[in-house]
């Protein structure tokens, strides 16, 4: 392991480096430590699900619906069953109730929950709905056999548009419910009607948060192996939540949870799409149990776009009331949430997160959200990076821009005016949250300074005079991270860690968080190496295997470091007490007299004496019963395991487990400033600047934080300009491949200028807030705001995403 300063080449010229953690003597924490997980990844030696090979593995290929809504009148799989290499063909009727329904963890009042089985039975509800699973000795043969299955469908009218779905008279997707409304919810505090009535102005705007596809680069994949003798089922799955998945799959399959092992090997990205329990995961386990052989299914990208959860999908109207000086009096958001045909794990919960975050970084006395959540004949929406918070931030930030435009004020000033002051924290919002800590103005000011905002506005004026269309967008976001206290979570909001020191002194960390690209193998090792005074290369972080790792919750909601990292710290603290006692015992002294430095334990008095220069040829002043001046952690570890010479009544071994329960969420924040120029002939958008100042509290590894923010912003650029899951009127998925669903490429993304402020949280002892979703949450409104600002001369106040060149051209052209 080499630190950045020791690199053989000069450091790269990056304009705005993130600062290292201040005021720490730490060797690793706060440093740009290179990732320990990288060597296997850059050599191509890591193991994602499809890279795991078991002898005699059978392969599954699915037949999926080509209709959005249809009754299945007949499935003929005889020919497929007889095809070369085919071992079995399963349909929904074959399986019946033998696999439990795909779970939804959200328990909203009055929520309608359709019976969701891994394979369609009587009806198909969306394009991509799995109908049959072909099992063969080879994936090529399985694929061939899929073409031999014939399905007779009776096509039914598809419900595609969410607003139409909510209307009475719309065809009903799940007949038993009578309509398509999954639930209605009103939330918020304050008298919203009075607040809007008291406003000098009330602005209304329809706002769309379009459906997106998460597109983790590794599609989903499942490998299941049932050992009939042992009665054990192992499922390798590309998942963010191995433990939660195990519990749910055990329930679905009726197998004892302790006979089921879930392993999340290397996971190639998730962004929420693998924070779920999918029918395929259960089905593969079940098939392996039926056939007694390993079975594997690797999702194709087409399947991924059709049948892995989508994100966003909200159509709403905001009403925002403000005083003439820009003070916001109230905000109402009436929103129709497009849930899709079924409820996946968190589907109904996403709009509720939007509701919670509607206060944004502002003091808004009255807030109300009215959610109408509807079923449509599409894939389910669920948590996609940000999960409800990008929608909220977008709504609030658009509202701030609309207020500024309405009043002719600078959008920066409107924001500043409504910020809570640093001394007002913890700040209670009208949505019922307590923001832990914050200094929103500091981040804003820093972003203004880096971008030289005043000068930018000056340049914009001059450019406009020359007929150029330059726009500046500002977004001051706050987000909800480190999910979260268990009270607020469907399945526990804590995270676990076991820290074990092996007899040879090597440190093993078992974390219940299951990172998949975020780099916690490194950041957790940084914490442990500093806390234990060992070399980082002596620390190994293990995750993602339910048979090895104690129960955990998983990696999502920007929680792994803040909650899981704290669990590591707490486990080490527990362990250190014991280490200290063993060291004292080995040194023949009292634990209170043990000093620890440079990886060694010694007796404090001896040290002090040495420092005072009193040590002479006579030797140390204190007698040493066992003759040792100092012992290493390794000595302690060996002693703990040999257990021949331990303090009386001490439990042998050197391992501690901690389940950390945070007392609140954390609320990172920041300001992004974007400058764009529009080609008035083509409508193309070009980024001139992208400045982001983020505050995620204390930072363990600035390099990882930068990576998270940059990746998040890139996904936001995708939403703002390119990405949209499009179904046609019949519910056909039009963006069914990466030829039509535009994931941004390198040349579509600008260079980001990043900086930070640092406002620690007291929610956890590390002061960490979390950063995994910040970029995605903060960026979108800034980008959209910049484009709208550029088009302000044409009287534009709002545009829906993705803002395509044609849309812009039409605006410029119509005048």
């Amino acid at each position: 392991m080499r630190l950045e300063g020791e690199a053989t080449l000069e450091p790269l010229p990056i304009p705005h480096r993130l600062n290292c953690l201040e005021g720490t003597m730490a060797k690793y924490i706060g440093q740009r430590v290179k990732r320990t997980e990288d060597p296997r990844l850059i050599k191509g030696l890591a193991h994602y699900v499809d890279d795991i090979r078991l002898p005699d593995t059978l392969h599954v290929v699915f037949l999926r619906s080509i209709y959005a809504h249809a009754r299945i009148t007949k499935i003929d799989s005889d020919e497929a069953t007889k095809a070369p290499g085919v071992v079995a063909v399963f349909t929904g009727r074959d399986i019946g109730d033998r696999i439990g329904p795909v779970p939804c963890a959200s328990a909203l009042e009055g929520l309608k929950v359709p019976d969701h089985r891994p394979l369609a039975r009587d009806k198909v509800y969306f394009v991509g709905h799995p109908i049959a699973a072909v099992v063969a000795t080879d994936p090529y043969l399985a694929r061939d056999a899929v073409d031999l299955i014939t399905v007779d469908y009776e096509e039914l009218p598809a419900v595609v548009d969410a607003e139409e779905a909510a209307k009475s008279g719309s065809p009903v997707i799940h007949e038993q419910f009578g309509d398509n409304i999954a639930y209605r919810l009103t939330a918020g505090e304050g008298d919203i009607d009075a607040a809007l009535a008291s406003a000098d102005r009330v602005i209304r705007q329809r706002i769309v948060n379009q459906r997106l596809a998460p597109v983790a680069m590794e599609p989903r994949g499942v490998l299941a192996r049932y050992l009939p003798g042992e009665g054990e089922l192992t499922i390798w799955s590309s998942t963010q939540i191995p433990h939660l998945l195990r519990t749910q799959l055990a329930l679905m399959l009726g197998i004892p949870e302790n006979k089921l092992r879930v392993i999340a090997p290397e996971v190639g990205g998730g962004f929420g799409s693998k924070l779920n329990v999918y029918g395929e995961e259960a089905l593969l386990g079940w098939i392996s149990m039926q056939l007694g052989k390993p079975v594997k299914w690797i999702e194709t990208r087409r399947e991924n776009l059709q049948a892995t959860i989508h994100g966003r999908g909200q159509v709403g109207e905001i009403e925002i009331g403000c005083k003439n000086d820009g003070t916001v009096t109230g905000l109402r958001y009436n929103v129709i949430a497009d849930l899709g045909a079924y409820l996946q794990l968190l589907t109904p919960a996403i709009p509720t997160l939007t509701g919670l975050m509607l206060s944004g970084s502002y003091k808004i006395p009255a807030i109300q959200i009215n959610v109408t959540a509807v079923f449509t004949n599409k894939m389910a929406t669920d948590a996609y990076r940000g999960a409800g918070r990008p929608e909220a931030t977008y709504v609030v930030e658009r509202a701030m821009d609309l207020v500024a435009a309405e009043l002719g004020l600078d959008p920066v000033e409107v924001r500043r005016k409504n910020f809570p002051k640093p001394e007002e924290f913890p700040f209670k919002t009208a949505t019922g949250l307590f923001y832990d800590s914050g200094n929103y103005e500091a981040a804003l000011n820093k972003a203004l300074e880096i971008s030289d905002y005043a000068k930018l506005r000056e340049e914009q004026r001059r450019a406009r005079d020359q007929g150029r269309l330059i726009g500046i967008g500002v977004s001051s976001y706050v987000e909800i991270c480190a999910l979260g206290p268990s009270q607020a979570m469907p399945a526990g909001g804590w995270e676990s860690a076991t820290v074990r020191i092996e007899p040879t002194g090597k440190v093993t960390i078992l974390t219940g968080a299951s990172p998949h690209g975020q780099g916690q193998e490194t950041s957790f090792a940084q914490i442990a190496a500093d806390e234990l005074g060992v070399d980082i290369n002596d620390v190994t972080v293990i995750h993602g295997d339910t048979s090895i790792v104690q129960y955990g919750i998983g990696t999502f909601g920007s929680r792994a470091t803040a909650v899981g990292g704290t669990a590591v710290l707490k486990a080490i603290e527990k362990l250190k007490e014991k280490i200290n006692r063993i060291a004292a015992h080995l040194l023949g002294t009292d634990a209170s007299l043990v000093a620890f430095s440079e990886g060694r334990f010694s007796i404090r008095e001896a040290k002090r004496a040495a420092a005072a220069g009193e040590v002479t040829a006579a030797g140390p002043p204190e007698p040493k019963p066992n003759g040792k001046k100092s012992v290493s952690l390794k000595d302690v570890a060996l002693a703990a395991h040999l257990a021949k010479d331990l303090p009386p009544d001490m439990e042998p071994g050197l391992s501690a487990t901690y389940f950390f329960e945070p007392k609140n969420f954390t609320f990172p924040f920041g300001t992004h400033i974007v400058v764009v120029e529009i080609d008035r002939e083509t409508g193309d958008v070009k980024f001139l600047r992208y400045v982001a100042v983020d505050d995620c509290g204390k930072v363990i590894n600035p390099m990882l934080v930068e990576g998270q923010i940059q990746g998040g912003i890139a996904q936001s650029i995708g939403q703002a300009l390119y990405e949209e899951v499009v179904y046609d009127e019949q519910g056909q998925l039009v963006t069914g491949s990466l030829m039509d669903y535009a994931v941004p490429r390198a040349h579509m993304i600008p260079r980001f200028e990043l900086d930070r402020t640092e406002t620690p949280t007291d929610v956890n002892p590390l002061g960490i807030k979390g950063v995994g979703e910040a970029g995605t949450i903060g960026a979108t409104p800034a980008i959209v705001g910049a484009i709208i600002d550029a088009l302000a001369p044409f009287g534009v106040h709002h545009l829906d995403m993705p803002i395509k060149p044609e849309t812009i051209w039409r605006i410029v052209n119509r005048s």
């Binding site: 080509i66 776009l305 039009v734």
Partner: protein, 185 residues
């Protein structure tokens, strides 16, 4: 997806209409139609091997003629399913006799595709639908120009006809352009 357009066929309206309602002619004119069997009044079962370029699939389904009002109107509905997905199209055809003995066909319809075709071919669907409409009418014109009882146009004809019509279109366009540029001529 909506498609609409017009085609002028150099044949008289009655003849065109008869061709349009003759299953043997329809089979030859519907792009890639390999089989058209009557299953009822104005309804047929069909097998079509159709597509554009190397993108091809075999579809089985039905063809229905509706709202038949000789010699000026009918509606044709085609539905087929196959490995690449399904095709569904329905269109109203209105025939207008022109003073020069030709027939103007206005068509307006709706084309739906599903399955793989829909999810990966969105940029092509409209073009392919138009292309097939052109193929259909080009073939139909040739059919309508033969005398009844005469042998139908030969296999391989479509390609030649297409090339011919595209050449002719270009000539017309060029003529139009020239006349625009030199209004005196």
């Amino acid at each position: 997806m909506k498609i609409e357009g017009t085609h002028t066929l150099r044949a008289r309206r009655e003849r065109v209409f008869r061709a349009l309602t003759d299953p043997a002619v329809l089979q030859r004119c519907l792009p890639g139609c390999e089989r058209l069997e009557k299953t009822g009044e104005n309804s047929y079962s069909t097998t079509m091997k159709t597509g554009v370029g190397s993108i091809k699939g075999v579809f089985t389904g039905i063809v229905r003629l509706e709202d038949v009002r000789p010699p000026e109107h009918y509606r044709i509905a085609v539905e087929g399913r196959g490995q690449p997905g399904f095709l569904k199209g329905a269109g109203d055809l209105d025939l207008e006799e022109q003073t020069d003995g030709t027939t103007l066909i206005r068509y307006a319809g709706d084309v739906q595709v599903g399955g793989t075709l829909a999810s990966v071919g969105q940029r092509m669907i409209q073009g392919a639908a138009k292309m097939m409409a052109t193929q259909f009418f080009t073939a139909l014109e040739a059919e309508a120009q033969t005398q009844e009882g005469e042998a139908p146009p030969k296999h391989g004809f479509f390609r030649t006809a297409l090339r011919w019509i595209s050449g002719r279109l270009q000539q017309i366009l060029q003529r139009l352009r020239r006349s625009k540029r030199h209004p005196q001529s």
